[in-house]
Amino acid sequence: MNRNIDFSTIISYIYIVFVSILIFIPFMISFWRSLWTPDGQLGLSNYFSMAGVFWPRVWLSLQLSLITVVLDLIIAIPAAYALTRYEFRGKRPILLTLIGVWYVPGIAYALSLILSFYLIYKQCLSILGFIVTYTTGFLPMMLLSSIVAFRRLEISYEEAAACLGATGLKRFIYIVLPLIGPGITSGILLTFVLSFNEFITAFLLAGPTGILTAPVKVFDDISHAGMLGFVAAEASILQIISLTVIFVYLKIVGTRYLKGTVFF
């Protein structure tokens, strides 16, 4: 009986490892290819050959995703607080409006934004367009993880503070925000990683605005010179940055706050 259990556990580990390798293979391949120099030797020269053109794009993408995270935090936390702590009419339609963008294909979202930028919000045909697109597009991620965090936070802390005479704003700043802090880190992580790597909306916006973010630059290079090692190096750099952020987060915070959003 005991041996039987061991056998099925081994089989399940083999299956899990196999699927994990399958998931990881695209990154491994592009990293492996980026290590081969054009003259067929192992080396890091690919990582230096695109230095002047590529790093400004990475910097731009980093700035964009940081701005997105900050803006999303500012607008998502009060909204999540109201959605979990108050009862009011029209809650469900409002929630659907806020997270509806998540259920729409990115290409249609990007096209509708380009049309609206041409016709209504003319000043958005610049970096501002990227900011509003990312902020609206990744609001659902931040909102859902904030809602999960607020649901876990016991209401008794706020009630105790209210009994001791703290007003609404004071309660929010001194009680709710410090307690909610760790819970929303998962939202920060996911919004950062997703917006840093966002491709399809940035790709469509690249035409009208003339601004290339790092993933769009990678795609551009793939379709022009996909076989060359420096393209693999560019793709690897972006993935390594994202994976490092995820790894550091998991090392510091762990997985507990990711449950309910991308974990189960």
Partner: protein, 279 residues
């Protein structure tokens, strides 16, 4: 005064987020539907209202819809077949390194672009994997630009979404039920067919629909892996080509509207069958 303020307070909290969503999500989509009823790019000058965009979709763009739905359906099915055991084993069997394997699932979140690129390399010459494929009798070049590879790559891209939906569902099934049925003499197959499968059906359905919804919007994978016959004729690529390269915004808006309607219908079904797994 104070009562009135209490009533309006939640709305005040939501207002900034709602403003973003209305300005940059609702209004653009109303505009998209609106533009889809105008001819060509006339909307920008003197709008001519017509239904010909939708007629054109019905006459010329059926293959694109067929390809998109076929690719998305194929890879969503693959996701469910591969992802169900993955979710089940992670929850019931795997104790050691369980969190590590769950973290692996975050890798496809980085986006379809890198998956498409890595997969594309995989089938090119002088790769260890392609020589392996040749050794077992499959020519990697013969399958590179076909729906098969595109569906495989899409399946890897959307696997986390399917696994997440099914995992949430399986974690709600009490393990005691399985133990009880095995005490009553059911073997593995019987346990799966009569106990596990009926209980996890909502999770499987919502996982399938979720993966499907992400697949129909994919761009980089069909572009890089699908080849000319299938890859160039999926909706996302056509929308960009018609809209941004041929400047026929009316037709592109109509195609995008059709895509949105498809994905909303599938999302609606998925939310119905999942009994609120997500919200």
């Amino acid at each position: 005064m104070n009562e009135y303020f209490d009533k309006i307070k939640p709305i005040l909290f939501i207002l900034p987020a709602l403003m973003f969503a209305v300005l940059f999500f609702i209004i653009p989509f109303i505009l998209l539907f609106y533009v889809s009823f105008t001819r060509g790019s006339t909307y920008f000058f003197q709008p001519i209202f017509t239904l010909e965009n939708y007629l054109k979709i019905a006459t010329n763009y059926i293959p694109d819809f067929r390809n998109t739905l076929m690719l998305a359906g194929l890879s969503a099915t693959l996701d469910v077949i591969v992802g169900y055991p993955y979710a089940y084993l992670l929850l019931r069997k795997i104790k050691f390194l369980s969190d590590f394997f769950r973290s692996i699932l975050m890798v496809p979140l980085l986006g379809e672009l890198y998956i498409a690129y890595g997969f594309w390399w995989l089938f090119l010459p002088k790769d260890p994997f392609s020589s392996f494929l040749e050794a077992i009798g499959i020519s990697p070049f013969a399958i590179l630009y076909t729906p098969v590879t595109a569906a495989l790559a899409l399946a890897i891209y959307t696997l986390p979404f399917a696994v997440l939906q099914m995992g949430i569902n399986i974690s709600q099934i009490d393990p005691v039920l399985e133990e009880a049925s095995s005490c009553l003499g059911a073997n593995r197959l019987k346990r799966f067919v009569h106990i596990l499968l009926p209980l996890s059906l909502p999770g499987i359905m919502s996982g399938w629909f979720m993966a499907f919804g992400w697949n129909i919007g994919a761009y980089a994978i069909p572009y890089l892996m699908g080849g000319v016959i299938v890859g160039q004729r999926v909706l996302s690529i056509q929308i960009r080509m018609v809209g941004l390269l041929m400047m026929n915004y009316g037709l592109a808006a109509a195609l995008a509207s059709a895509l949105v309607i498809i994905s909303l219908v599938f999302t609606f079904i998925s939310l119905k069958v999942s009994r609120g797994v997500l919200i």
